[in-house]
């Protein structure tokens, strides 16, 4: 509770600093919306001539994209600056978090909120509503209750993965390329249903870098595409479990990294 209050105060401070650049804020929002529109346009063009991609029609693909995006936007709102962890470490400014009598993690989190994530959020919500109506979906109460769980799990899965990759900086000094690697798998999973890819790719995004749990497996269930006889039908419900396991690992890595940390300041 105490740390939540601290987090909110820190975020308010950083937002005040950020709001000085209002034009930049608006440009950021517009550009993110344009970026997503172009991505969706590309997916649209790919299936425009072919009606479907391995049995996924256009609105199902949009659903897949936007379900991922909704989980991702919460990540980018609150945790985007994991990217910048390496800068704090290389320049030795990470020390400031260790000197104050509060959790270094909370202090680091409170450094920033990336509110252009709001643009992602609006695209995702509009896209999901359009997909839901155009696909004539009628979710049961259970599916409605499970939907927010999927979104939050998606956020936590991405956050945990990126945090682990960011911690690479404690050992290697650099981490942005490691984060890029996770994001590349992420982008592929966001754009295309993983059943079009070869076996090893599916194994990687299910077991090793489990980003398929952000959208693909739950989407199978939410879109009614899952075959109840299939031996892997249960994967659609595993997102929260995967999220919890990843968070535990990430938290372990973080604490290990903190113990490993020796300042660059010397």
């Amino acid at each position: 509770m105490e740390s939540l209050r601290l987090y909110v105060r820190l975020v308010r401070l950083s937002m005040q600093a950020r709001l000085q650049y209002r034009a930049d804020f608006i440009m950021g929002l517009l550009n993110i919306i344009a970026l997503n529109a172009i991505n969706l346009g590309l997916i649209g063009i790919i299936v425009y001539r072919f009606v479907d991609l391995n049995g996924w029609i256009i609105w199902e693909l949009f659903f897949l994209y936007c379900l991922w995006l909704l989980g991702h936007c919460l990540y980018s709102l609150f945790f985007w600056h994991f990217w910048e962890l390496e800068e704090y470490i290389v320049q030795g400014t990470f020390d400031q978090f260790l000197l104050r009598p509060a959790s270094p993690f909370i202090q680091f989190l409170g450094r920033e909120v990336q509110y252009i994530g709001l643009a992602d959020m609006s695209v995702a919500i509009v896209g999901l509503i359009l997909a839901y109506t155009n696909l004539h979906l009628h979710w049961s109460l259970g599916q409605w209750l499970f939907f927010p769980v999927v979104v939050i799990s998606g956020t936590l899965i991405e956050t945990a993965l990126v945090l682990m990759m960011a911690c690479v900086a404690f050992w290697a000094g650099r981490s942005s390329m490691a984060i890029n690697l996770v994001m590349e798998f992420n982008v592929l999973v966001q754009h295309y249903p993983i059943d079009i890819f070869g076996m090893w790719f599916r194994v990687v995004v299910t077991g090793l870098i489990p980003v398929a749990f952000m959208n693909y497996y739950p989407a199978l269930m939410l879109l009614g595409k899952v075959d109840p006889q299939s031996p892997s039908a249960w994967l659609g419900y595993m997102s929260p479990v995967v999220a919890v396991i990843l968070l535990l690992i990430a938290s372990g890595v973080w604490h290990l990294a903190l113990r490993r940390y020796s300042s660059a300041g010397g």
Binding site: L30, I45, Y48, R49, N54, L181, I196
Partner: protein, 263 residues
């Protein structure tokens, strides 16, 4: 010769210093090629008739789109934005070399590193594992090389124009996200223009972006041949002239503004 060796040495040192980054970049490139390869393969098996080309041509197009990025990618805009933001741009302007040519020389250097360290190895992987084919004949291969060089120059100038905007906008990070996806989309890096719906194709056909990916790769896979290929090269050349003139004009306008800002 001496200059060449000193250049080669500094390049080598650069690569060694960033070997982890280069390695990861390479892995990313292979992943992207793998992804697009499967997309086209699956779509093609669904409807072989809808493409107007063979399966091998289509997957080659997709994979080459990803590979070409490492051949023609230059990043003058980041350098320009950084120098303008930090104010270090004045040391660049004091150099006895025209700024535009200086940026071009830098970008050519970057391109050689990119091609040697990322582009060629990625292509070898693509040839072995992703069934990428050679051009149908020698002429197509030669025209492809010419067209790719045009593509490099076109993309350089588009990026240079974006970098010039940094004088006014100061931060081009956000604009560049949308800009990159426009280049990829209208340039035909992922989906070739002949698969576009008519109303988008009309726009894409007129703009210079298609000279970056679409034209070189279409020549490579043998979709554009003979007179059509030469027409496409002409299209690239005309746009290149336009973009060079635009770059000169915009930069000199930006330069004046910069001097005023500096006081």
């Amino acid at each position: 010769m001496k200059i060449f060796w000193s250049f080669a040495r500094s390049t080598f040192q650069f690569i060694v210093a960033y070997r982890f980054d280069f390695f990861m970049e390479f892995v990313l490139a292979v992943l992207r090629m793998y992804g697009i390869y499967w997309v086209w393969r699956i779509l093609y098996t669904q409807r072989p008739g809808a493409f107007g080309v063979t399966l091998e041509q289509m997957t080659t197009y997709g994979v080459m789109g990803m590979a070409l990025e490492m051949f023609i990618w230059s990043r003058p805009q980041w350098y320009m934005a950084n120098q303008i933001k930090s104010g270090a741009i004045d040391t660049d302007l004091m150099k006895p070399l025209d700024f535009h040519w200086y940026m071009l020389a830098r970008s050519i250097g970057e391109m050689f590193i990119g091609v040697g360290v990322l582009g060629l190895p990625a292509l070898i992987i693509a040839f072995i594992f992703l069934g990428v084919q050679f051009p149908p004949d020698v002429a197509s291969g030669l025209l492809f090389v010419v067209s790719m060089l045009f593509g490099f120059l076109l993309l350089f100038h588009l990026n240079f124009l974006l970098g010039s905007l940094a004088v006014v906008a100061l931060d081009i990070r956000h604009i560049s996200w949308a800009y990159f996806s426009v280049v990829r989309f209208l340039g035909g890096q992922i989906v070739p223009l002949w698969l576009f719906p008519p109303f988008v194709a009309v726009i894409a056909e007129a703009l210079p972006f298609k000279g970056t990916y679409y034209i070189p790769i279409s020549i490579y896979i043998g979709k554009l041949t003979g007179l059509d290929a030469f027409k496409a090269l002409g299209f690239q050349a005309v746009w290149l002239v336009v973009l060079v003139v635009l770059s000169r004009l915009l930069w000199s306008a930006a330069h004046r503004r910069l001097v005023v800002q500096g006081g």
